[in-house]
């Protein structure tokens, strides 16, 4: 009975595993050959999205993120998409993002450094949102149609009002 109580108590605690955490900064290479750190966008609302070319739900989510970046980019949103593809598939990553006319920043995590810190179970897709106060406000696993509205709502909550 005690074990059951502990289990239920655990589940009732905050739903977001990382929410409230301070952000660990990371520097990765982007697909255009530059190096990018998360801290380069400190002060903005940063939506970090893990994806891979072999992940079908990820490829369905990316056009929605593209629209979100276009709509809210001027208001202070920066979407950073981190590719979990292996080193050998970098050509595929570039072709995929260019094909989609994908405007968010795309970083390459060929050595799984970002995955180890933020998404060690390699859930795909996996998204978390960093607020202007440099803490993680929300996180979400997977994607089904309609989830983009939830993401937009979360981002708008964090963006400066007015």
């Amino acid at each position: 009975m005690r074990l059951l109580s502990l289990f239920l108590a655990a589940l009732l605690l905050p739903a977001s595993a990382m929410a409230g955490e301070n952000v660990t900064d990371l520097t990765l290479k982007s697909i255009d050959g530059t190096t990018v750190s998360l801290s380069d966008y400190k002060g903005k609302v940063i939506l970090v999205n893990f994806w891979a070319t072999w992940c079908a739900p990820c490829l369905k989510e990316m056009p929605k993120l593209n629209e979100l970046q276009a709509e809210l980019g001027d208001k202070g949103l920066q979407i950073i998409s981190i590719s979990a593809d292996d080193a050998k598939d970098q050509a595929k990553v570039k072709a995929t993002t260019r094909r989609m006319k994908y405007t968010p920043k795309v970083l390459l995590d060929t050595e799984a450094k970002a995955l180890e810190v933020y998404n060690p179970n390699k859930d795909m897709p996996f998204t978390f949102i960093i607020g202007p106060d440099w803490t993680i406000a929300h996180e979400k696993k997977g994607f089904t149609e309609g989830d983009e509205e939830k993401l937009k709502h979360w981002v708008e909550e964090l963006l400066p009002k007015g």
């Binding site: 605690l13 050959g33 891979a52 292996d86 060690p120």
Partner: protein, 611 residues
């Protein structure tokens, strides 16, 4: 065994609880370590393996059912720029001899459990250890992440260039995790990066995909290497790397290479990448008595290049490779190929068959692939077409008896359709065909044998994905089909396909996988899987296959596999998945890495809790 099950459940729950008790993550008064983050991820897995009777007429009872429990606890404590963490796996199987019902079967002799965790090879296991319970400290790490300097001690991952000489990155989606256990040091600046590393290969022993029985500890290999990257201007990168391997199989290997990457050339229309590596392998020969007879040096190379052009709605990607003695370095094992490097293959995963090494990972191959992606803005349609061509200079007995030329065209489409507010349809599909033409070498001359033209091997593959979303309700149908054909002149028997051997003439095999799913609110999913195959390799003992959990049956011709699955994600840190039914053996690929999963009949459930 019931006590072990209870122990597992208790560990699962108790391990998770302290994370909330101390609230380390909040920089507030009362925190144990202000500014620290403590993360727990715990996965508990239960599998009931049910064995069917493969032949009711032979008076041989099927194997006894048995249970598997696996608990995987991962903890990571971050304090400032440091983090320290571990992954602890516990696995238990039952029934064991402490179970009275099982022990009663051995009135006249010493009790033996139906399955044991440890292999019989005596490869490093403690002799007095429990045969049904195994704790494993799989991973442990200490990391420092400064802005320009980082170091890692313990388990870490690494990849150089495009993975030709080193690519050790875990793949949790297929439960494959091979790390290096040692040290790694990095300097990272805007224009210059430096990496030095050394360690022992450390494959994850306990699995949530494979059967946790007869686990053999394998000897480790030692890998050391370094890499430097220089970015003279934005978009350009020059890299040099080198690595040395002392492999577990009495082989030493060295590789040095470099690459050039140039982005946004020709006013942003072109990206280029080219990598070259020189390889050297030294293999030791032994006599019958184990004495060293000598060694041979075997040089090789691995070149890879990619050019991507962007022309409005059209993206063209051209890749080329030339590998000579560019072997995939991997842990020895019949069903667990854990690669230490992963060169670009240029091959589609859809054409990968159960003979992984024979289809995409040849060590002596030269080829190219051109892919066009076309995006039609008015209809939001994406079309793609590719053509791959390669010459494989390596024989693969049991798959291709001769060296071969491969061609592989493929076309696909991705079409989202907006039906109405809150209603959408998504169609995606692709179809391709790979054919391998034999190419016989005779007396030093390359000679194509006309009567074997179109007489060897081909794979037709098809995939369709239809998704319908109506408000909070999402439906999806995914169907894949693969058909391999053999058209040999006469029946050929292959001894390499398992103990029982295998003879075939021209029937090939078919593999069909269908899944229908319904998801509500993105949280609750019910799915039905209906698969079929008559692939002899799937049934083969070495792939841990056979229909359901039947033993390998040489007379087996085909089987269907039906299973149902429910996945519940009521809150974001809890996932409960329950599967019941049969699951066919076969290959599972992700990102170019593949592993062969065993057949399964029974019930398995998985509870994942993240804190």
């Amino acid at each position: 065994m019931h006590r072990q099950a209870l122990l597992f459940a208790a560990l699962t729950l108790l391990a998770a609880a302290p994370a909330h008790a101390v609230q380390l993550g909040q920089p507030q008064p009362g925190s144990v370590l202000p500014g620290a983050n403590l993360k727990f991820s715990n996965t508990f897995y239960y599998k009931w393996n049910h064995f069917l009777d493969d032949n009711v007429d032979d008076d041989i009872d099927p194997s006894a059912d048995y249970h598997e429990f696996v608990n995987r606890l991962r903890a990571d404590l971050e304090i400032g720029k440091f983090s320290i963490g571990t992954q602890l796996d516990l696995v238990g199987i039952g029934p064991g001899c402490e179970d009275p019902a099982w022990a009663a079967k051995f009135e006249d002799g010493e009790c033996e459990p139906p399955r044991t965790l440890r292999g019989s090879g005596g490869l490093g296991w403690e002799p007095d250890a429990s045969p049904t319970f195994l704790p494993r400290l799989e991973k442990v790490w200490l990391k420092y992440r400064g802005k320009n300097v980082q170091f890692e001690i313990g388990d870490y991952y690494a990849a150089f260039g495009r993975g030709v000489i080193l690519s050790m990155v875990k793949k949790p989606e297929i439960d494959q995790d091979s790390s290096l256990l040692g040290g790694r040091f990095d300097i990272q600046t805007k224009r210059f990066d430096f990496t030095a590393l050394a360690g022992m290969t450390n494959p994850q022993e306990v699995s949530m995909e494979l059967r946790n029985t007869s686990i053999n500890r394998t000897p480790f290999s030692v890998i050391a290497g370094g890499q430097m990257k220089f970015r003279p201007v934005d978009g350009w990168e020059i890299g040099v790397h080198g690595a040395g391997y002392d492999l577990e199989v009495e082989e030493k290997k060295g590789a040095v290479g470099g690459y050039l990457e140039a982005n946004n050339l020709a006013a942003g229309y072109l990206d280029l990448f080219i990598e070259g590596n020189a390889l050297m392998s030294r293999q030791v020969q032994y006599g019958d008595g184990g004495e060293v007879l000598g060694s041979t040096l075997d040089p090789g190379w691995a070149f890879y290049g990619a050019a991507t052009g962007y022309f409005g709605a059209v993206t063209l990607t051209l890749e080329g490779k030339s590998y000579r003695n560019a072997r995939i370095l991997q842990r020895a094992g019949p069903v667990v190929p854990l690669q230490y490097n992963l060169p670009p293959t240029l091959e589609h995963e859809a054409s990968v068959t159960e003979a992984i090494n024979n289809t995409i990972q040849s060590q002596d191959v030269h080829g190219w692939k051109l892919q066009a992606d076309i995006w039609l803005l008015p209809t939001d349609t994406t079309l793609f077409a590719s053509f791959a061509n390669s010459f494989d200079g390596q024989r693969h007995p049991g798959f291709n008896e001769e060296r071969q030329i491969m061609i592989h065209p493929q076309v696909g489409i991705d079409q989202p359709i907006h039906l109405a507010e809150g209603k959408s349809l998504h169609l995606a599909g692709d179809v391709g065909y790979r054919h391998d033409f034999p190419w016989q070498f005779d007396e030093g001359h390359d000679e194509h044998v006309p009567d074997q033209f179109l007489s060897n091997f081909g794979v037709l593959h098809f995939r369709a994905d239809i998704g319908l979303t109506i408000g909070k309700h999402a439906f999806e149908i995914v169907s894949t089909y693969r058909r391999q054909h053999w058209t040999l002149e006469e029946e050929v028997c292959f001894e390499s396909l398992g103990d029982a051997g295998y003879c075939d003439s021209d029937d090939g095999w078919v593999s069909v996988e269908n899944a229908v799913s319904y998801t509500f609110m993105g949280k609750y999913t019910a799915a039905l899987h209906v698969d079929f195959t008559d692939d002899p390799l799937v049934q083969n003992a070495t792939t841990n296959g056979a229909p359901g959990n039947l033993h390998y049956d040489q007379g087996f011709k085909s089987s269907a596999y039906i299973g149902g699955e429910v996945i519940l994600k009521p809150i974001s840190n809890l996932e409960i998945a329950i599967f019941g039914g049969s699951q066919k053996a076969g290959i599972v690929c992700t990102g170019g890495a593949c592993r062969t999963v065993p057949a399964f009949t029974g019930v398995k459930s998985k509870v994942t809790v993240n804190f």
